[in-house]
C-alpha cells in the first residue's frame, strides 16, 4: 500500500511539473515552441486544477506525517522521497507562480556579464537584452543582499550564456540549498517528524524547487548558524548569520534571539526563533505584501519543534492558506479590483479558524 501511494505521489509530482508548463509567458522566446497560452485563456479551469493540486499535495503530506506517527517511515525512505521529489520538481517550469528567478538571472547578468554594479544599474538600462521581454522587475536595482549576488555567479557562469541552461542551473542551485537544509534540520533535531514536516511541506517544495526562491538559501545559512550556536561555536555562528542576512535581510530578526540564546530555556529556543521570523513575516506586509515564499522563514523553525502544537498547527495552516494566495490572480488575471482583498482573506481566514478551533478545544478540555 505504502509503495503504491509513493508511486501515486511521484506521478502526482510529474503531473504538477507538466501542469506548470501551461504558464509559460508569451514573451519567453526561448520556450516559444512549447507555449500554449492555456493558463491565460482558461483561467477558471486552471485555477480549479491548481486548487485540486494543492489539496492533493497536502493530502500526501499528511499521509507522510501519519506514517511517521505510526513509525512506518524510515530515514532511508524519507531520503528517497526527498531525492525523487527534488528530481521531479527540478524539471518544472519555474515562473509558474512567480517571476523572481528571472530577476535573479537579470541581476546576475548585470553583475557578471555586463560588469556593472547591480545596486546602481538596472537591467532595463541594457536596451535590447532579450531578458527584458519577460523579466518583471527589470526597472529595479538589485533587491537582495551582496552575498546572494555573489553566490548567483555560480549558477550564472554554469549556464554558459544559454538562457535555458542558466535557468535550470539556478533551479539546481536552489535544489541544493533545499537538500542541505533538510539534512541540516535532521542533524539539528534527529527527529524524523521534523525532517518530514520540513522536507515534504508543499509550500517549501513549491517555493524552493519549483519557483527556486532564494529564501531557502537564506534559511540554510541561518540553520547552519544555529547549528554552530548550539555547539557553542559563537564566531562561526555569527559569521554564518551575517551571511544569511547578506542574502536577504530578514534573518537580522534572529540576532536578538542569538544574543540571548543561552538565557533562553532549552525547550523555548526553537519557539523563540520561530517567533522572531514569524514577526518579520507579518511585518513584511508593511513593506510590500506577504508573499507565500516568506513563510519559509518561520516554517523551518516551527517544524524544528513540532511538540509545540499551537506553533505547529498555525504554521501548517499558513503553509496551506498561503498557497491559495496565488488563485485570485490566476483566476482574474489582475492584481487590482477584488484581488488584494481576496488574497488577504485567503491568507488569514484559515489560520484564524485554526486558532479559534484550538481555543475551543482547549476550553472544552479545561471545562471538563
Amino acid at each position: 500500500m505504502k509503495k503504491l501511494i509513493f508511486s501515486f505521489y511521484f506521478l502526482f509530482l510529474l503531473l504538477f511539473s507538466l501542469f506548470s508548463y501551461l504558464f509559460i509567458d508569451l514573451n519567453l522566446i526561448y520556450l516559444k515552441s512549447i507555449y500554449t497560452g492555456y493558463a491565460f485563456s482558461n483561467r477558471g479551469v486552471v485555477s480549479v486544477i491548481y486548487c485540486l493540486f494543492i489539496l492533493l499535495f497536502f493530502l500526501f503530506y499528511f499521509y507522510f506525517i501519519k506514517l511517521i506517527k505510526n513509525k512506518n517511515l524510515s530515514v532511508k525512505e524519507i531520503i528517497f522521497l526527498i531525492t525523487a521529489t527534488s528530481i521531479i520538481l527540478f524539471f518544472s517550469y519555474p515562473a509558474m507562480l512567480s517571476y523572481d528567478i528571472f530577476n535573479y538571472i537579470a541581476t546576475a547578468k548585470v553583475t557578471f556579464f555586463y560588469n556593472e554594479n547591480p545596486y546602481l544599474i538596472m537591467p532595463i538600462d541594457f536596451k535590447g537584452d532579450p531578458l527584458l521581454l519577460f523579466t518583471h522587475a527589470a526597472n529595479k536595482t538589485a533587491l537582495y543582499g551582496p552575498f546572494w549576488i555573489f553566490l548567483t555567479g555560480i549558477p550564472y557562469l554554469l549556464g554558459f550564456g544559454n538562457f535555458i541552461l542558466t535557468t535550470f542551473s539556478f533551479k539546481l542551485f536552489s535544489t541544493a540549498f533545499y537538500i542541505l537544509s533538510c539534512l541540516l534540520s535532521y542533524k539539528l533535531t534527529k527527529n524524523k517528524l521534523s525532517l518530514v514536516l520540513i522536507s515534504l511541506n508543499p509550500l517549501i517544495l513549491i517555493e524552493s524547487l519549483v519557483s527556486a526562491h532564494n529564501d531557502i538559501a537564506m534559511m540554510f545559512f541561518a540553520l547552519l548558524a544555529l547549528y554552530f550556536l548550539l555547539n557553542s561555536e559563537q564566531v562561526k555562528s555569527y559569521l554564518l548569520l551575517l551571511l544569511s542576512f547578506l542574502i536577504k535581510f530578514a534573518t537580522i530578526f534572529l540576532l536578538p534571539v542569538f544574543i540571548l540564546f543561552k538565557k533562553i530555556k532549552d525547550n523555548q529556543k526553537f519557539p523563540f526563533l520561530f517567533l522572531a521570523m514569524f514577526l518579520i513575516f507579518l511585518l513584511s506586509s508593511l513593506r510590500e505584501e506577504i508573499y507565500p515564499w516568506y513563510a519559509i522563514w518561520f516554517l523551518v523553525f516551527a517544524f524544528l519543534s513540532p511538540k509545540n502544537k499551537l506553533i505547529l498547527y498555525i504554521s501548517l495552516a499558513f503553509s496551506f492558506s498561503l498557497l491559495f494566495r496565488y488563485v485570485p490572480y490566476m483566476y482574474f488575471g489582475t492584481h487590482f479590483g477584488n484581488t488584494p482583498l481576496i488574497k488577504t482573506s485567503v491568507t488569514f481566514i484559515f489560520p484564524l479558524a485554526t486558532l479559534i478551533y484550538l481555543f475551543i478545544k482547549r476550553s472544552i478540555k479545561f471545562g471538563r
Binding site: 555586463y114 556593472e116 554594479n117 546602481l120 544599474i121
Partner: protein
C-alpha cells in the same frame, strides 16, 4: 504712432520668445549645492567622492559617476563665484571639466562592450546643454581675469573667462557628438 506701437509689440514678442527659448533649452536638473570648501563636512565629501569612484564600477557606472561629479563641481563653482571666491571657484570648475571629459570615453567603452548607449547619449546631451546655460550666465557675470594675491606667496592670474569658454567648448563638443 501706430507703427511705433506695432514695432514695440513685435520687438517685445520677439525678445520674449527668445528669452523663453533660452530658459527651455534643457530639462536636465542640476543638484543642490553640497558643502563648500572650508566647511568641516567638505573633507568627508572628498572621502565619499573617492569611495564612490570604486562603488560606481563598470562603464555605465563610471559614466554616471563622472557626470554626477561634474554636475556637483559645476554647482560648487557657480556658488563660489557668486561669493567672489574666485580661486576656489576656478578650481571647482576645473574639476567639473575633468569629470565631464571622462563621460564620453566611458560611453564609448560601453558601446565596445556591446551595450546600447542611446539613452545615455541623450542624458549627456541634455546635461551638456544645461551646463552651457549655466556657463554662459557665469561668463557674462564674472571678470575676464582675476589676480589672486595670497598673503605669503606670489600672486596668481586666473584666466576665468578663458576657462569658462574652454568649458563651454568641451560641452558643445560632447553635445554634438553623433554616435
Amino acid at each position: 504712432m501706430r507703427k511705433i506701437l506695432l514695432l514695440v509689440t513685435f520687438l517685445l514678442i520677439f525678445f520674449n520668445l527668445f528669452v523663453f527659448s533660452v530658459n527651455a533649452q534643457s530639462s536636465y536638473v542640476l543638484p543642490y549645492p553640497s558643502s563648500m570648501p572650508g566647511s568641516s563636512f567638505y573633507r568627508l565629501h572628498l572621502l565619499e567622492e573617492l569611495i564612490l569612484k570604486y562603488w560606481y564600477y563598470g562603464d555605465f557606472g563610471q559614466f554616471t559617476y563622472s557626470l554626477k561629479e561634474s554636475d556637483k563641481y559645476l554647482v560648487e563653482a557657480k556658488t563660489l563665484f557668486e561669493y567672489k571666491q574666485y580661486l576656489l571657484g576656478y578650481k571647482a570648475l576645473e574639476k567639473s571639466n575633468k569629470y565631464f571629459l571622462n563621460t564620453m570615453p566611458n560611453l564609448l567603452s560601453a558601446r565596445e562592450h556591446g551595450k546600447d548607449i542611446k539613452d545615455k547619449i541623450v542624458i549627456l546631451s541634455e546635461a551638456s546643454k544645461k551646463h552651457q546655460e549655466e556657463l554662459v550666465i557665469l561668463e557674462k557675470e564674472l571678470p575676464q581675469n582675476f589676480v589672486w594675491s595670497p598673503e605669503k606667496a606670489a600672486s596668481q592670474n586666473l584666466p576665468i573667462s578663458k576657462l569658462i569658454l574652454e568649458s563651454i567648448k568641451l560641452r558643445e563638443k560632447y553635445e554634438k557628438t553623433n554616435i
